[in-house]
Point group: C2
Chain length 310, copies 2
């Protein structure tokens, strides 16, 4: 059994939050090793035994771009449905939407960029172009009666442009909200967010009429501050946080060993704060330790490292 | 030049804080490798070129307990005095005080435990016994006209006892304050603090009449939450934080790879929050990279890892 911190609530925080697990998609797509399909399916099946209610399963991006996830349809077929657990899949464009619908996806996620340079480098388009690309995809999801999540990359800093003006992010988020996208996840893609920046962006969104119930936060622990940023998000009323089991993944642009906020680290702090997640830390630790073995390297998560050593 | 985060202040935080650097003492004493005396002296001399104003230099604990710091007098003589930089030294008892005074120490730090079990395991005494041991040391410091800092270990959790009642910590802190100890550093020795716990302990101290100007916070990043705990401390008005360059050190009781909060990670977040530290991150990074080379392993600091890779 993992040792857990004392529960000492902090006034003003939400009572419960949703952890949106991105390990199988965002995590594995950024790993050098290509994990075989049965292992991915087992990974997701085991993750949903932890109490997680939202696990992004895979991506229908072109296999030429992300060979790690070329088996998207097989993974989605292999995991099947599971009572009480959502399995969104990433969809980059109409071609991806064809594949996702053919694979009977029940929820999708689309992605855009807050900066022109990242839109060009990563999506080969512009900020406007990425949103226009999303319009017919969102329309088709609505026709199919399935939910749409939106990711906005580079909300706090851009490796080429540096500072990203808050108004620019608010504009992109507003346009996604106007399209009918459900939850919008604000990505700190290179890990440079700090708590005052998180607070200021959320305040600007709130002022622009975007409720905190529409927002999720996606932090990377590149500079060690992911959980401080989560605390700031909690204090502003955000109730959905993206995280990857074991801290899987990484950002090729930061060229750093550390990637997504680890689900274990998030669960640990939220447990101490008395914020309910519904996630069983022991089961999660066992899965991340197993996956680290498959990937042939230790999990970056501080909690996994601390408890594996104890 | 290190990339630095955007400065976006957060309302209600202090304008400036003191970083109390513990790398040369708390960091090196917990490293397996024994660093030679000239390297220690160079380490401290270089650290004080970064803008740090408080650098704990060494410990006059018995060399039988901590062979890593057996050269305390040589180190103190070797670094000399430096305008605007304090160099406290750790003193465990009267014998240590004899050696510290003979070595012309200008400030000392004493340490006690918040828990009986840690007092027994680590100090071979009781909670009361450790405080009694400190009384004549503090008296002699007062007679010599030098300042005294106090460390309280295990303020948030104990590896044997588990939960540490807040009232128990407040009692020990109050007794140190009554003795005339200046700043009292609350140690999260095994890294289990979470932000609500930090806030609750600080509120209890404030209610007991211990001003936040008497308090420093000493976090370990064992579970990834050190900076979230710093944020909580800032929100409660604490203006002094212990940290170790590069994240040097570790806690043998947690058997984890991660030890003290890294000074770089702290400076990075504080910079983003617009809280002044006076510390030059580039110089600090260069020192930690150099010391990691001496120790033959990468610095645990997330910021060092991210920026060394970039």
């Amino acid at each position: 059994m993992a040792a857990l911190p004392d529960v000492v609530p902090m006034p003003g925080l939400p009572e419960a939050v949703t952890i949106y697990e991105v390990g199988p998609r965002d995590g594995l797509q950024a790993e050098k090793a290509i994990v075989d399909t049965p292992t991915k399916i087992e990974f997701i099946r085991r993750l949903r035994e932890t109490g997680l209610t939202a696990i992004e399963a895979t991506s229908f991006v072109s296999p030429r771009w992300v060979p790690q996830l070329a088996d998207a349809a097989e993974v989605l077929a292999g995991i099947g449905e599971h009572e009480g657990v959502r399995h969104p899949v990433l969809v980059p464009n109409q071609r991806g939407m064809d594949r996702a619908l053919a694979a009977a996806a029940t929820e999708i996620a689309i992605f855009v960029s807050a900066t022109e340079r990242f839109a060009r480098e990563n999506l080969a388009t512009t900020v406007d172009g990425a949103i226009e690309l999303a319009v017919p995809v969102v329309d088709r999801a609505r026709q199919a009666g399935i939910g749409v999540r939106g990711y906005v990359s580079m909300c706090f800093g851009d490796p080429w442009e540096g500072r990203v003006p808050i108004a620019q992010v608010v504009d992109v988020v507003r346009r996604l909200a106007d399209l009918g996208v459900g939850t919008i996840s604000l990505g700190d893609t290179i890990g440079v967010a700090t708590p005052g920046h998180v607070r200021a962006l959320l305040a600007a969104l709130d002022e622009a009429g975007i409720g905190m119930d529409r927002i999720a936060l996606h932090f990377h622990d590149t500079y060690g501050g992911a959980l401080a940023n989560v605390l700031s998000g909690l204090q502003s009323g955000v109730t959905e946080y993206d995280a990857a089991a074991g801290g899987l993944g990484g950002c090729p642009f930061a060229r750093s060993a550390t990637g997504n906020l680890a689900t274990e680290d998030l669960v640990w702090m939220l447990t101490g704060l008395g914020v309910r997640t519904g996630v069983d830390l022991d089961r999660l630790l066992a899965i991340s330790t197993w996956m680290a073995g498959r990937l042939g390297r230790p999990a970056p998560s501080r909690v996994v490292q601390a408890l594996a050593a104890s």
